[in-house]
C-alpha cells in the first residue's frame, strides 16, 4: 500500500443556500481545494463524487457536478453511504491511490437539502428502512436517535442537561466559524426550553437541514514530491464498520457497534491509542450521538460520556477537544459534505491554520468519526502531520 496524504481542502459556506444550485456549491469547495493544493484539475486523475442526492430534482448528479467543476474524463465514481457519504468518497479516493491505480484523486461531498419542504425532507430521511419501520410508524432520524437517547438515559443516567451541554459547546465554536450554518451561541436553558422534536430530543439537540459542499485532494508520496507540496497531512488510517439495516435487529440502543468496529480498525492501522488523539470531529447529528461517540471511540468509558461533557473535557483546553468547528449540530450537516468537511477542519487544525479555534498540538494526531444513518455505516479516519 502506498502512503497517501491530504494536499488540498475546500469547504463551501454551509447553510440554507437558496442562492446556488448543487454544482455551484460544489464549485466553491473544489476551487478552494485546488487553490489550497496549488494544482489544477489536469493534475487530478480521478474524481469521486459523494452525494446522497435523494432530495434533488436530479437523479444522476455526479456527471453534472464533474462537468460543472472541470473534471469531465476524470471519473466520476459516485458513492453513497447516507450521512457517511463524504468519508466513503475519501475512502474510495484513498484506496485508488494506496493501491497504485492513480496517484492523485479528489473526494467531493455535496448535498442540497433545502430545496424541498421539511416534511418531505423528513420523509426522505426517515426512509432508511421503509418496510420494517417507516411504512407503519413514520420514523424520522430524530426519532431513531431519540430511541438511543432514551435507552442511554435509562441505562447510564445520562441527563437532558448533559445533552444540552453538547449543543452549547458546538454552537459556541460554530459562532467562531464563518462557514458554519449557525453563527450564534446558545445557553443550556435555551436548549432545554426549546420545542420537543422527538422526545427527549428538542430542536436544539438536532442538527439543521443544510446545504453545502466540501472537497479533499489526496496524493501519493511520489506525487507529493513532484508537486513539492508544502504541508501534507498524512492519512494514516481509515477503518469502516457497519450494522443491520433494521433498527429492531440491533443488540442494544446505547452504542454504535459500527463505530466501535471502525475505530478499532483505525487505531490498529495507525498504531495509536485513543489517548494519542489531540483533536477530533465526531458525528453529532443529534447531541446524544456525540455522547455515544465519546464512548465508542474510547475517549471515556462506556456510560461516562455525559460526565466528559460535564467536566468540559471536550472543549479546547480539555482532555480531547471535539467538534471545535461547530460539529454537525451547529456547523450544519449537508449529508455527503460532512465527511469531507471533517477532513477539511482537521487538516486546518493539523497545519495550525484554525485561527481562534486552533487546538494546541504536540503529537499532531487527529481523528474523524463519520456515521451513516444510525450506525448502518461508520468510517473512522486518523490523520497525522
Amino acid at each position: 500500500m502506498k502512503r497517501v496524504a491530504v494536499i488540498g481542502v475546500g469547504n463551501s459556506k454551509f447553510g440554507v443556500r437558496s442562492d446556488a444550485t448543487f454544482p455551484e456549491i460544489a464549485f466553491e469547495a473544489i476551487k478552494e481545494a485546488l487553490e489550497d493544493a496549488g494544482i489544477t484539475q489536469k493534475d487530478v486523475e480521478l474524481s469521486v463524487v459523494g452525494t446522497v442526492g435523494s432530495r434533488l430534482y436530479e437523479m444522476y448528479p455526479a456527471p453534472l457536478i464533474n462537468e460543472y467543476t472541470g473534471f469531465t474524463l476524470k471519473g466520476p465514481i459516485r458513492v453513497e453511504a447516507a450521512c457517511a457519504t463524504g468519508s466513503a468518497a475519501v475512502f474510495t479516493a484513498y484506496n485508488a491511490i494506496a493501491s497504485g491505480y492513480v496517484d492523485t484523486a479528489i473526494a467531493i461531498g455535496v448535498e442540497k437539502m433545502c430545496e424541498v419542504d421539511t416534511p418531505t425532507s423528513t420523509a426522505v430521511g426517515g426512509r432508511g428502512c421503509y418496510l420494517g419501520e417507516f411504512h407503519m410508524f413514520g420514523t424520522s432520524f430524530a426519532c431513531y436517535y431519540a430511541l438511543f437517547a432514551t435507552a442511554h438515559m435509562a441505562k447510564y443516567g445520562t441527563t437532558e442537561e448533559q445533552l444540552a451541554k453538547i449543543a452549547v459547546k458546538n454552537h459556541y465554536y460554530a459562532a467562531r466559524n464563518p462557514k458554519a450554518h449557525f453563527q450564534r451561541e446558545v445557553t443550556t436553558e435555551t436548549v432545554l426550553k426549546s420545542r420537543v422534536v422527538c422526545w427527549p430530543l428538542k430542536i436544539y439537540d438536532c442538527c439543521p437541514i443544510s446545504d453545502g459542499a466540501a472537497a479533499v485532494i489526496l496524493a501519493s508520496e511520489e506525487k507529493i514530491k513532484e508537486f513539492k507540496a508544502q504541508d501534507p497531512v498524512w492519512l494514516e488510517a481509515i477503518g469502516f464498520g457497519s450494522d443491520t439495516g433494521n433498527l429492531t435487529r440491533r443488540e442494544d440502543y446505547t452504542s454504535l457497534r459500527s463505530a466501535r468496529m471502525a475505530s478499532e480498525t483505525a487505531y490498529k492501522m495507525a498504531k495509536v491509542e485513543p489517548e494519542d488523539i489531540e483533536v477530533a470531529t465526531v458525528h453529532d447529528c443529534f447531541t446524544i450521538a456525540e455522547i455515544m461517540a465519546y464512548e465508542d471511540l474510547g475517549f471515556c468509558r462506556k456510560g461516562e460520556g455525559g460526565r466528559l461533557i460535564d467536566e468540559g473535557q471536550t472543549w479546547i483546553g480539555g482532555k480531547i477537544p471535539i467538534n471545535i468547528d461547530g460539529g454537525l449540530k451547529a456547523k450544519g450537516h449537508p449529508l455527503a459534505a460532512t465527511g469531507c468537511s471533517m477532513i477539511y477542519e482537521l487538516t486546518k487544525q493539523l497545519r495550525n491554520e484554525a485561527g481562534d479555534r486552533q487546538v494546541p498540538l504536540k503529537r499532531y494526531i487527529a481523528l474523524a468519526h463519520n456515521v451513516g444513518m444510525i450506525g448502518q455505516y461508520c468510517y473512522v479516519t486518523i490523520l497525522k502531520r
Binding site: T118, A123, M136, C143, W199, T248
Partner: protein, 145 residues
C-alpha cells in the same frame, strides 16, 4: 415548511412516486396485521427467527419458513414524535414509537399507546397487537399489560 427564499428561484416539474410493493412472500404478515396479529418467521431448517419477517434464510440459504405469532414483549426504548414526515402529517396525535423485545428473541417496533412518555419505563411488559388506521395503512400497537 421551507423558508421563503431570499433569492430568485423557480419550481421544478412535480414527480410523484407511489410503489406497488410485492408481498407474495410476506402476505401472511400483512394479512395478519389486518386481523390484529403480528407474525415473525422461523426457518424450518435452522430455527432462526426473523423480524421483520423474511422467508429467505441467509444463515442456511433455504426458503422454507413457518409463521409464528408474537404476543408480548418488554419495552427496550421509546420516543414521542412531534415532527411528522410527509405521509404522516395528517395524524393529529404525536405518536409514540417504541421497540419491544419478545421472548422469541426478536425485537418489534410499534406505536405505544395508553402511556405517557415521561412516565414510561424501559422494561415495562407490553401486549403486541395490530390495527388498520383510518387511512387504510396498518400499524402495530403496544399497550402496557
Amino acid at each position: 415548511m421551507s423558508k421563503t427564499p431570499e433569492y430568485p428561484s423557480m419550481k421544478s416539474r412535480t414527480l410523484t412516486l407511489t410503489h406497488d410493493i410485492p408481498i407474495s412472500k410476506t402476505k401472511t404478515y400483512w394479512e395478519g396485521l389486518k386481523e390484529g396479529n403480528v407474525y415473525a418467521t422461523k426457518c424450518k431448517k435452522c430455527g432462526e427467527v426473523y423480524y421483520p419477517p423474511q422467508t429467505d434464510c441467509p444463515k442456511c440459504l433455504t426458503s422454507d419458513a413457518e409463521w409464528i405469532q408474537l404476543f408480548e414483549g418488554e419495552l427496550e426504548t421509546f420516543t414521542q414524535a412531534y415532527l411528522k414526515p410527509q405521509g404522516f402529517t395528517h395524524y393529529e396525535q404525536n405518536y409514540m414509537i417504541a421497540i419491544a423485545k419478545t421472548a422469541e428473541g426478536v425485537k418489534v417496533m410499534g406505536w405505544l399507546e395508553d402511556m405517557d412518555v415521561k412516565a414510561a419505563k424501559t422494561g415495562t411488559p407490553v401486549k403486541i397487537t395490530a390495527k388498520i388506521m383510518p387511512d387504510g395503512f396498518p400499524t402495530i400497537i403496544f399497550k402496557p399489560k
